[in-house]
């Protein structure tokens, strides 16, 4: 009776350990998931900021083009 119960005990310990291990894996997974989420929203936020910046630069560029054209009266600046 002692031997099976000892064996049962080890198995129970193993199962217990399995629970713990799986919880650990689960937590790591959640954390990775959270990092992924963060990266995604970081991505979006950056994109929208960069888009605004890009727009400003484009506007400025076009303005410069226009002013350059006004100033040079035909000949190009070199």
């Amino acid at each position: 009776m002692a031997a099976p119960s000892a064996r049962g005990e080890t198995i129970q310990k193993q199962i217990q350990q399995d629970w713990i291990n799986r919880e650990y894996i689960e937590i790591i997974t959640i954390s990775i998931k959270k990092i992924t989420d963060f990266l995604n929203s970081f991505d979006l936020s950056c994109r929208s900021k960069l888009a605004v910046l890009n727009e400003k630069l484009t506007t400025l560029e076009r303005k410069i083009d226009y002013l350059e054209a006004c100033v040079t009266k035909g000949e190009t600046l070199t």
């Binding site: 198995i11 199962i15 959640i30």
Partner: protein
Amino acid sequence: MAGTDRVSMTDALSNVEVLDELPLPDEQPCIEAQPCSLVYQANFDTNFEDRNGFVTGIAKYIEEATVHAGLNVLLDEGQEHAVMLYTWRCCSRAIPQPKSNEQPNRVEIYEKTVEVLSPEVNKLLNFMYFQRKAIERFSQEVKRLCHAEKRKDFVSEAYLLTLGKFINMFAVLDELKNMKSSVKNDYSTYRRAAQFLKVMSDSQTLQESQNLSMFLATQNKIRDTVKENLEKIPGYEELLADVVNICVHMFESKMYLIPSEKHMLVKVMGFGLFLMDSDICNINKLDQKKKLRLDKIDRIFKNLEVVPLFGDMQIAPFNYIKRSKHFDASKWPLSSSQTPSPQADLMVHLPQIREDHVKYISELARYSNEVTTTYKECGTDSENKETADLALRGLQLLSEWTSVVTELYSWKLLHPTDHHQNKECPKEAEEYERATRYNYSDDEKFALIEVIAMIKGLQVLMARMETVFTDAIRRNIYSELQEFVQISLREPLRKAIKNKKDLIRSIIMSVRETCADWQKGIDPLQDPALKGKKDPDSGFNVRVPKRNVGPSSTQLYMVRTMLECLISEKSGGKKTLRKDIDEMTMGRKINKCNVRHHHNEECSDLITMEKRIQFPIDMSMPWILTDHILKTKEPSMMEYVLYPLDLYNDSALYALTIFRKQFLYDEVEAEVNLCFDQFVFKLSEQIFAYYKQLAASIFLDKRFRVECSALGVYLLPYPRASRYETLLKQRHVQLLGRSIDLNKLITQRINADMQKSLDLAISKFEAGDITGVVELDGLLQVNRLCHKLLSKWLALDDFDSMLREANHNVLAPYGRITLHVFWELNYDFLSNYVYNAATNRFTKYRGITFAQPVTRDRPPQMSHHYLWGTKQLNLAYTTQYGQYSGFVGPQHFHTMCKLLGYQGIAVVMEELLKVVKNLIQGNLLQFARALTEVMPKVCKLPRYDYGSPGVLGYYHAQLNDIVQYPDTKTELFHNFREFGNIILFCLLMEQALSQEEVCDLLQAAPFQNILPRPFCKEGEKLEAKQKRLELRYAALQIVPNIEKLGTAKQAMISREGDLLTRERLCCGLSIFEVVLNRLRSFLDDPLWVGPPPANGVMNVGECTEFHRLWSALQFVYCIPVSENEYTVEEMFGEGLHWAGCTMIVLLGQQRRFEALDFCYHILRVQRVDMKDETVKGIHLKKMCDRIRRFQVLNSQIFAILNKFLKSGENDELSVEHVRCFPPPIHSSFNPTGQHYHAPEHARP
């Protein structure tokens, strides 16, 4: 942090927690599906690899797990083969065929054919072997389970379900094989080539090839083989009945989560019944024996007439039944009837879906607010359960809506429309076109879009909550499982021990051992239940630990199966309770896996819409839907427009991750490229048109609008407010892994549209006469307003620079408008227009023309939105501006002033002066020279004694040559009119400009500390009031403020600006005066003044000076005309008089003209004698009337001219010009007989 530093687990985790707190604002409203560049998926499905760990479980089920694992592998393999067949593209069509046996390179062709096709053929071979193997395995399993002994034992649910999956797989593979004729064609091409080359030499290969072509060529081969094999197994029908029944049960109690699971159940029912019904077995009899419930299945089949089979293929499960041996329509009343299935009508589902959506969204919002505002380590069990339920319900809703969409789509695919049902559908429409493009009504399309939008919208919301949800779900599952195992099972266990039911005891014990997670790491041995005793009165406390993890897939399978076996053996009272619990556990488990994957999950079937070989985008469902929104311009749908496009994302993802086919992805990509270009093109055009329409509607005269509606004329109201703003805010739209700045793309296009719009406005002006200038101004104003409205959302170029660019005014000093104004003045206005001071307008004379007819470019063709927005608005504005087209008046001069600006006006006037110079020194001088020669040398003022008829006769005789001169009344007057029109143009421009400037000045006044005089009551002091006002508006005054706050340079600039504004009018700069002085300088020929007077004072009777010539001309035009002739007023207008009078004034001959003019003399004499008779055909009275009229006109003109010319001179200056003559001396005193003394001889 240095790379080598070790980070502890807790630190790492708290670092992750902190990430949440970083604010990452995204400034755009989310109107697309979950945008994610990065997807993280963890898969914990071990496919029973860890089965040996759970030795505490019952050995039989561990063995069964091994079988499951093997079957699952086969199912996966089957899926791969299905994908292979489904994505098969015909190769043989692309391979050249040898045309004749003599073709020299045919060997080469065959060799290449074999080389190209053999890898593909290998796949087919593998497929054949696989199906053989799978059928064998399946029959083997069925045989084992149908063994007489085994039949008594129970078969677990999981087992039955796996068998069901097999049945489903066979159905799918068989249908795919039947459907793909290209597979057969390719294989026969290969075979022909291979036979020619004798590649298959040995008998075994030949046999194999024979088998394969038979296998491919025989329809329904797999199905029939399965059936054949099964029929050999005694009792197989009962097992299949179990499978079908479990499917019915799961379907009815909604124990499925994703739509594909649901559809699989239905397919299994259909195919399963088909397999059962054979010579040996009659399903109708089974129904009678209550082994099957055909009525239930009938209802299911009716509700789901068509189910998706694989990809965009679909199948009607009832067809299986129809094809079975003992089919009896009376058993299937619903399915056999002709009434359409509810799945065909989306509209019936819609209200319910909407309601669910609103309800769920609000619940979710409440919950999400709660989560974000209150932070909790982990909730209580009940809270977790609530959250888990919420998540489950969300997933179920998603799944349900997705099913509705896919089922509708499948139904439509199987029931294409034709030109009888749908009038829009052309007769020659393709099959697929009839199934998609023409198969949906407008309402259905909208409903479809709405449902898709709800699915994707809810998915975004749920994805945001994902970590919260998964956390709660895991905790909930854990606690439910543990409480069930550790607490709920105690009582049955105690009873089993007490009653010595060893089997039950051992099963319960193994359940406990397999998955219990004890607080102390070990079974509480002291638990009285283990000894079959009741708890002591104080109670036995089992404390269940808390964890954030669910059971593993194998563990769950073991527990479920063992519990199931417990239930099936012992039909005790607790059965229902347990069943409930374990079903719940299972539901949760599925749920848990799915939250993580739901992104793909619910999209995957929408995509199915999408898999087809290269079709025009008109037939592609996502584009049909997107285009539908764009076409109808429905404002409430506009914000949904990105959702249908997202279906392309789904299909691309499916192609890459499920099908794993690069070429499929490339096809999707090509289609998306096409669609997206179209989309941006259409959208931006629409937005531009909308804002143009809005601007034009705002700009449209309000009274005009009111009067239109009073008259009952239909005029479009303001455009419906549309929600383009949300779309315009989109700066990152995810499409096939690219992030697209929609705002930027639209800005680019609208910038171009705006530019084109301005360009066309000017072109339109160029195509018309000068009266179009008012309409041009209106168009530019509407465009400016449109630009202003759009600029709120888009970074458009500066309007003024755009206008200058369109006007070609960036490089050149004057633009197209100025040039055209001048062109029109020169070629049309000066020579054809006639001025009338009474109306202050020029009108076009349409009788005799003296100038070349004007030819202009044709007006450019343009769509409505480049003009005023819509057809109706174009009509309204054309009518309005039509009022300005008959004349040139103050309005035109005002707009010309505005449009030309100082620079333009200066250019135009300069050019006009050149024209005048040419006239004066060219034509006019020549005419004058010719006419002076025919003028009488001397023409005195006859005495009153002759009477007016006599005077008239005298002049007529004297001036006969001039009257008779052929060109006088045509060419000459025409030239004078041109001259006069120029003078009038300059004068009227000056007037318009002054008004503009006054307006400017008034508007600038408050900023320059120029305030209107305040009203003063008696006793109030004006100064004090003035001071108060000045103080009050001190903040507005620019110069002092800038001096105070700005730099020295800024102060200087502002002072100068202020000075310029102030001085512009004060010093009375007048263009007209300058013009007159320039004109004076042109009159330098001696002819105009003639030789100096012989008497040294002035000419009286001599006809040498210009005013004498003009008097002669005046005589000519004062002669009344007969009925059929034209008067000068009619033909040349007042320009003529302006020209003459201006010359007279500039030559300083005004007084002499007024004193000595022939006509004036006739008038004076006539006034005295009041005679009226006809002299030489001239009616005297009428002539006098004319003279009087022109006299008044002339004096008005003189007055105006003198006002401008004298304005700068001082009074003293004019006094100096007065010459003093001594009074004449009677001839009796002066024997020389001189009348006058030359001034130099005059005595002072």
